[in-house]
Symmetry: none
Subunit: 421 residues, 2 copies
């Protein structure tokens, strides 16, 4: 099995001003590809120290992957350090210059001289193209068949280069055992409840291995299988997945990269329904989650962020007396908001939220964290109140997740009948 | 100045199953105490590798702080590795045994034999008490006046031990210089443009040091000063900050923990204005950014996510002929949306977005990434089109950031006069 070390470059990492999410992302991708990460490191923007870290890592491992330090500034020194460590020089990659010139022309900004530096790559590099930025990555051979790869530090740029360009090459070179991972996404059950339901499966199986990963308002069940081929690993996962789905029936909304929002949009599309949102305390987060899915426009009509009471009345036709009598954070207000959104957008389903996100605005009767959710569909409606824990951000995130879970429950329970019925 | 290296221990870190937040936390605390972090590492639960990492770090630095691997299981090997690296043995710390026995009695659980292992510490250690768990931390001297400290990996246990027991000792021993950091947040200038404008400052100044940190649609300029006291460091930053603000005039919207959304809400509050949003391609992200700020309700009236054309017409009073003639992604549509939102919410200012977020829906005239932004205020309006790079997520994030930047520009330029005028 191949051993690789990861080196994140950036003084801000050593000052604790940035949490490095690149390293765990790359590590997880390498694990899936059956490549072992021996150790990870972070070093500052210092040419000598970066070169030293690369040399030391190459003594232990078969290869090194760096992140960061490929930018245009004087602090970006990773490529220089790679050259130092390998005893090579760099060459300017002209196609990258041309691509950068085209990029700057397209955004109507001048290309600075310092940008040209980003096209200088260690001699002999395979260029790993960067579709989302100016700095390409690179893969260069070191002594004894070892390698050094450099990726940019911006996660949005790093990820596609890693997945589309670097991993296929590393897999081809080092791939032995394959690890296949299947992630089941659940909602509505706590981590300990899931643990309780599948405990025996957990314990019995070392390969495939089962692990739980808790998120805000959701929990993933991860199944990992190792086998000589992808097909064999997948075949090992299938019966276990079936068993786990049976144990967690009614709570598994999707697998792998299926998001709850995408699942909901697919269910809506199947029924020929359109959805509208009426958000107060979630402030646009439900609409954001839905519109993050490509093609959302087919089933998402739109929404109102009715933050002020006046907006609830003017744009969602909530009766002023409802707010006066029950308050804006109430079951009646939530139901009226859902009703109003459905009517205004001419949608089949609507979801509404109103609550106290805090830190201010709480009272003994309506404490910070209290949120009313309501949904209305052609032949029914449902409302629920939850007391969410955490700070403002956590309450908003949990309320958004709970709203999507409520919608998913309605669309899958048979409670809401098809439009034609 | 003292140099320290951090070593996080745990195979789960190398599999990418856990994001290590301990390392940035400790790094930030050390920076505040004027102790330099030379490099950070993560290694697996392997006695030999941990010992090797400690030895290698001690060659470069004045001390090493480890996190993790202090638990009762066979996988917890940090203390054994420290002993190996320093050539010492361990001794059982009887007061810790007594404390653990009392702890298990208090929770009514039997103390397992393997828990006793947690009281075995490298000989000569100063015991760093753990008020929130069973495993104490330790601080032990190495050769040449160097040190190794071990902290537990559970953040809730690690933090109080670090702050109450380890840092005071390190400060006493190494403390001298303090580091103060000031971060200026800019918008509307690329990283290379900022670099170009302040390059000479970058190069001229080692202390305070200036660094750039690029984000989506924004870039931070960081000034770090080292001095014997916090006040002296702050005094060194002030003139440099003034100079940098002058160089980047019109682009610095805030400093340190001030967000662009919070800055906009504060500017609105000062004028007694309220804001409404009309979002198509940003799908609720502008409203989400604004409502993430506590107290947003004072100045944020609400918004419409007008995803469908029908919603633009029904809820924002966009003339159907405008959409027919110019298309939903057009300057006219964006201006009409801003106008409609202002009227519907009775707000002084409105911001609107309409664009092609992709991946589908692009055309030669209106490619993926094209976004029209428009704002309207009591005595004026402004519109701008931008071609954003990246995938759907990046385009939505960049358009949101650009919308906030446009609002900020309007509220600060004097272009929009105060309500009373």
């Amino acid at each position: 099995m191949a051993h690789v070390e990861l080196i994140a470059v950036g003084t801000e990492l050593l000052l604790g001003q940035l949490v490095d999410t690149n390293t765990p992302f790359i590590a997880a991708q390498l694990a899936d590809a059956g490549i072992d990460v021996y150790a990870t490191h972070a070093v500052g923007d210092n040419r000598e120290r970066i070169a030293h870290a690369i040399s030391a890592a190459l003594e232990r491992a078969d290869g090194v992957i760096t992140t960061g330090g490929l930018g245009p500034t004087v602090d970006d020194l990773t490529k220089e350090a790679v050259c130092d460590a390998l005893g090579i020089d760099s060459v300017r990659h002209e196609p990258t210059i041309a691509r950068m010139e085209a990029f700057f022309a397209s955004i109507g900004r001048p290309m600075r001289e310092n940008n040209r530096k980003q096209a200088d790559l260690p001699r002999g590099s395979i260029v790993l193209e960067n579709p989302h930025g100016t700095a390409p990555g690179f893969l260069v051979s070191a002594f004894e068949g070892k390698f050094v790869a450099g990726l940019p530090g911006v996660p949005q740029e790093m990820k596609p280069i890693l997945i589309d360009h670097l991993l296929p090459r590393l897999r081809e070179r080092f791939g032995g055992e394959r690890i296949v991972t299947r992630v089941l996404h659940t909602t509505g059950l706590g981590e300990s409840e899931i643990d309780h339901r599948i405990e025996d499966v957990f314990r019995a199986s070392e390969n495939p291995k089962v692990a739980l990963l808790a998120h805000i308002g959701a929990c993933d069940v991860k199944i990992m299988a190792k086998a000589p081929s992808e097909a064999e690993a997948a075949a090992m996962i299938a019966p276990l997945e079936k068993e786990l789905r049976a144990r967690l029936r009614g709570h598994v909304y999707g697998a792998d990269d299926e998001s709850l929002a995408a699942t909901i949009l697919a269910l809506l599309r199947k029924r020929g329904w359109r959805l509208a949102t009426a958000e107060s305390c979630t402030g646009g987060r439900i609409a954001s989650a839905l519109t993050s899915v490509a093609g959302a426009s087919q089933s998402f009509a739109g929404g109102v962020v009715a933050y002020e009471n006046a907006a609830k009345i003017a744009l969602l036709d909530v009766d002023a007396r409802v707010i006066e009598e029950f308050g804006a954070v109430s079951e009646n207000a939530a139901l009226a908001m859902a009703h109003g959104a459905r009517a205004r957008f001419g949608a089949e389903v609507a979801i509404a939220t109103t609550g106290v996100a805090g830190p201010g605005g709480g009272s003994p009767e309506k404490p910070v964290g209290l949120v009313w959710l309501a949904a209305e569909w052609p032949d029914g409606h449902r409302s629920v109140s939850v007391n969410f824990a955490g700070d403002r951000e956590a309450i908003q995130a949990r309320a958004t997740q709970a709203s999507l879970a409520l919608l998913w429950g309605i669309l899958t329970s048979g409670e809401a009948t098809a439009k034609s019925s």
